[in-house]
């Protein structure tokens, strides 16, 4: 197990290094830089060229790309994420709270969606090919087929405007306690949950159907063990195993991938911060967020591995 964790760690470091380099150079080839995009057309129309050049030099934007790259890597090695280019603020300060909020949103979503997805998958797997299964899989596919922003806007129209029982947009602050923030975000959570249930339900259903066809299920059936017991005690843990890695990747992608939901509901998460950082060309913030997202992938994968190890004794050595 420890060897596995070490191995994963080493691989992840390689991935992270590639990722950091990719983002650095990818953002470098884009037209303009942080200063340019911080100025409006009106301002550029009036700003003399020499003033522009002086400001670039002040911000270090005129240094050769490799020099900046090494500087950035050096900073990373000493756990310094750097500072924003324009405001010279520590990047860690900008990223920390939105990251917390996104992890919380992903966590709550998963926590609420998993049991529902599980129940749906079990209902469907128990009656494979019959009306209930068809209805549930159909609903899952439909849930999977509707763009998130449509779901979100519809939820707002129904539950905030026509029948105002929930807030339409989140007015809580980035650094409010999580309880306050999440309480202000019922529709945002509902939107991510709807998509998650559809996705997780599909994966779990397939896993469960597969396991229900396994030899050990047949043996138990032929021993006269009741069906509920077979499903709960024998099949379910086995079905969770292949689903776990997929669920972990999904959870990791939720952290940085709910950009649309964050935008629609103004949830103060890392996805919206990322969009802002990209459009403002704040390379260091983009880097930090991408790193955080990558670390989430690594961590969730590790959690999945641990979960699999707990469920599947064959992987423990």
């Amino acid at each position: 197990m420890i060897a596995l964790i070490l191995r994963r760690g080493a691989l992840s470091l390689v991935t992270l290094f590639l990722l950091v380099s990719f983002i650095f150079f990818a953002t470098e080839v884009l037209p303009g830089d942080a200063l340019d995009v911080s100025l409006s057309a009106d301002e550029i129309a009036t700003m003399p060229a020499e003033v522009m050049a002086r400001r670039k030099a002040e911000l270090g934007l005129d240094r050769p790309i490799l020099e900046r790259y090494w500087g950035f890597l050096g900073g990373l090695l000493s756990f310094d994420l750097g500072r924003t280019i324009i405001t010279r603020a520590p990047v860690a300060d900008i990223v920390a709270m939105p990251l917390r909020n996104s992890v919380a949103l992903a966590g709550v979503t998963l926590l609420l969606a998993l049991p529902v997805a599980l129940a749906i998958a079990m209902a469907a797997a128990q009656s494979k090919g019959r009306a209930l299964d068809n209805a549930v899989s159909g609903a899952a596919i439909i849930g999977y087929s509707i763009p998130e922003f449509v779901t979100g806007l519809l939820l707002i129209a129904v539950f905030a405007v026509w029948w105002p029982i929930f807030p339409a947009t989140i007015t809580a602050s980035t650094d409010d306690p999580l309880s306050v923030l999440l309480a202000a975000a019922p529709l945002a959570i509902a939107t991510t949950i709807i998509g998650s249930i559809a996705y997780l339900g599909r994966i779990l259903r397939v896993g469960l159907i597969e396991v229900m066809a396994a030899d050990f299920v047949e043996r138990l059936h032929l021993s006269g063990i009741p069906r509920w017991r077979i499903i709960w005690l024998h099949a379910l843990p086995a079905a969770m195993i292949p689903g776990l890695s997929a669920a972990a990747l999904y959870a990791a992608s939720l952290v940085s991938g709910v950009v649309v939901v964050e935008m629609v509901f103004a949830y103060p998460g890392i996805g919206a911060e990322l969009v802002r950082a990209v459009t403002r060309r704040e390379v260091h913030v983009v880097q930090a967020i991408a790193l955080a997202a990558a670390i989430c992938v690594v961590l969730f994968n590790l959690l999945a591995d641990l979960g699999i190890a707990a469920l599947d004794p064959r992987t423990r050595r």
């Binding site: 922003f149 599909r202 690594v298």
Partner: protein, 275 residues
């Protein structure tokens, strides 16, 4: 294929996709007006001339609806094809070569998982512009990495097959083995992958359009119509609901078709759709 069509859900899915495709292809001939012409006063109610009324620039909403799937479908299907072809070749090559090449490919796949999709597209679009070919490549690469994993897993199994080993023992080149021996045997898998990738690409494109990174005006596009129409949702709901319904039925059709195809081929569509 025939077995897939015997399932009612898959049949419905296939019909939806074929219908949408047919309309998209035939749009220039069957649409009563050009989709971009400013014909009349804005927001005319539905009537004999304009079946769905006019939009807020005075264009025929019905004609725009008929045209509205063309580019999105082009991007989705082309990106699906890029993803499936590229992903299959890369995945099979990784399965064939293993070793360092495999390691590099798998790191790339992992990297893609770690880079948020939006960031990836934003960098791509900012660098190369927001044109249809750029979108196809960007969305194709995003979808490709999942295919790489699937194709590699299938390839590793195939590499153990006698006919691959026989070819290796005869000293056949890697390209021959990948193209002759491996690729034809993952065709079923790739057909399902294609349907899944195309539907997921369509969703992604609509999300990107929503964020302003996807298809851009003056292209008539359902996603843009939904986004545009949201401001008028209360007074002109049809301008939002009609294109939204089109997107939903098309994606639904592709998903149902993928599921049915996978079911018929004994594959696992849900897990293929992840990653």
């Amino acid at each position: 294929m025939r077995a897939a069509l015997r399932r009612p859900a898959a049949l419905l899915g296939g019909l939806l996709v074929v219908l949408h495709l047919a309309v998209a292809i035939a749009a220039p001939w069957i649409a009563p007006f050009a989709p971009t012409s400013l014909l009349d006063a804005p927001l005319e109610p539905p009537g004999a001339t304009y079946w769905l009324g006019t939009d807020d620039l005075g264009r025929d909403a019905f004609s725009r609806l008929l045209w509205g799937g063309r580019v999105a479908m082009l991007v989705a299907f082309a990106a699906g094809a890029v993803a499936v072809l590229g992903g299959a070749l890369l995945g099979l090559a990784a399965a064939y070569r293993r070793g360092a090449f495999d390691d590099v490919v798998m790191r790339l796949v992992e990297m893609k998982l770690a880079v948020p999709t939006i960031l990836f597209v934003a960098i791509f679009v900012t660098g190369f512009g927001q044109s249809v070919p750029v979108l196809i490549v960007a969305v194709g690469i995003i979808q490709m990495m999942g295919v790489v994993r699937t194709a590699r897993a299938a390839g590793i199994v195939l590499m153990e097959q006698g006919y691959v080993r026989a070819a290796q023992l005869n000293g056949e080149s890697g390209a021959i083995i990948i193209l002759r021996e491996l690729l034809p045997n993952v065709a079923d898998l790739l057909a399902v992958e294609f349907a899944l990738r195309a539907s997921s690409a369509l969703l992604l494109v609509s999300a990107l359009s929503f964020l302003g990174l996807g298809i851009s005006p003056p292209t008539p596009d359902w996603g843009l119509m939904v986004e545009d129409g949201m401001a008028l949702l209360e007074s002109e709901p049809a301008l939002v609901l009609a294109p939204a319904l089109c997107i939903a039925t098309l994606v639904l059709g592709m998903n149902l078709a993928a599921e049915g195809l996978a079911d018929a081929l004994g594959l696992d569509a849900a897990r293929g759709g992840g990653g």
